[in-house]
């Protein structure tokens, strides 16, 4: 995983490409992305860079969390995210990450975020299971069918689909195209949809593909 950027999902809209075709895009407003710490192999056992997503108020952080910022004379940031890198010495604590260094227009990115919570859902919505007829005297509508055989094996196999909580999970959508980068506004336009509700914090990472070379 290379260094990525934190941002907030704003919402979706449409733009037109060169040929006049409609492109569905998600608007992501990038955060401050301030380098808060550089982990080194000698000191921490691994090499990484810690990034603070958005500048926040002092009272929004706990005193121990605030202590770390005070020690390095940094503005309070939230949330903190670590990115593993080969060499962390090129990043300087206190400096913001530049969009231009990490992303280019046309690049493929992975976007991580927490998906929209759907609550307790049945197997039909949760796992796309089939359902029974809704009419013609049928009494089997949306409930589950069989969950396995009888005496043999005498138990329910692990991993059988059942109702339960759906959504509100960390999700990653891979290989989305960056349509446009607006550095003045600090906005990314990413083709397609991105996990989470509007206002959700998302992490945008360059994808590990041959097309990004």
């Amino acid at each position: 995983m290379t260094v990525g950027l934190l941002g907030r999902k704003i919402g979706m809209t449409q733009i037109f490409d060169k040929e006049g075709l409609v492109v569905p895009v998600t608007v992501v407003k990038l955060g401050d992305n301030i380098v808060t710490e550089c982990m080194t192999k000698e000191k921490n056992g691994y090499s990484a860079v810690q990034v603070g997503g958005f500048k926040t108020l002092e009272r929004k952080l706990t005193k121990p969390a605030m202590g770390a910022f005070k020690k390095r004379e940094l503005p309070p940031c939230k949330p903190l995210k670590e990115f593993r890198v080969e060499d962390s010495s090129i990043y300087k604590v206190g400096e913001p990450l530049k969009v231009e260094d990490i992303l280019k227009e046309g690049m493929l990115v992975d976007v991580r975020g927490r998906s929209i919570g759907k609550g307790f859902q049945g197997t039909i919505k949760r796992f796309h299971a089939g359902r029974g007829p809704m009419s013609h005297g049928s009494k089997f509508h949306r409930s589950m069918g069989s969950i396995g055989a009888g005496t043999t094996p005498g138990r329910v196999y692990k991993g059988v689909i059942m109702p339960g909580h759906m959504g509100d999970q960390n999700k990653c959508i891979r290989h989305l195209k960056v349509v446009e980068i607006d550095t003045a506004k600090g906005v990314l336009l990413i083709r397609g949809s991105v996990p989470g509700v509007e206002g959700q914090i998302v992490v945008v990472n360059p994808s590990k593909t041959k097309w990004n070379a």
């Binding site: 704003i10 919402g11 809209t13 449409q14 733009i15 037109f16 006049g20 409609v22 608007v27 407003k29 607006d182 506004k185 906005v187 336009l189 509007e198």
Partner: protein, 130 residues
């Protein structure tokens, strides 16, 4: 709509889109590519549906061509749509006039809106948008 999204859309919006309503008869000039060449084609019909807001706006235009009903959806701010000119203002009571689909001949006529300012909206040239 979010303010930031509005900002992003702002410079992509066309300025020469006339005020369009359901029931209006319009002529849409669409750029089409044919064998490497680009040319403009007109398409005249009645707006039966308006959809969306801002840059996502579309309209559905219906016409009867060689006895077959044709409906085309145009994104209003698409660069492929060169110009939209108003032919006639219609007076309808519904926001979606799907009932035209079941009608033929004389029954498809739409009352003209009296006192509608037609010229003002139609006169703006396409070049003003650039």
């Amino acid at each position: 709509m979010n303010i930031l999204i509005k900002e992003i859309q702002a410079d992509r919006l066309k300025k020469n889109v006339p005020e369009l309503n359901v029931g209006d008869t319009v002529k849409v000039f669409v750029k089409i590519k044919e064998g490497g060449k680009e040319r403009t084609q007109g398409y005249e019909g009645v707006i039966i549906k308006r959809h969306g807001a801002g840059a996502d706006q579309t309209m559905t235009v219906r016409r009867v061509f060689q006895g077959i009903g044709v409906e085309r959806v145009f994104p209003l701010h698409s660069p492929r749509v060169e110009k939209i000119s108003l032919v006639r203002r219609g007076d309808v009571r519904r926001s979606k006039i799907y009932y035209l689909r079941e009608r033929t001949g004389k029954a498809t006529r739409i009352k003209e809106k009296i006192g509608a300012r037609l010229e003002q909206a139609a006169e703006v040239p396409a070049e003003a948008n650039a």
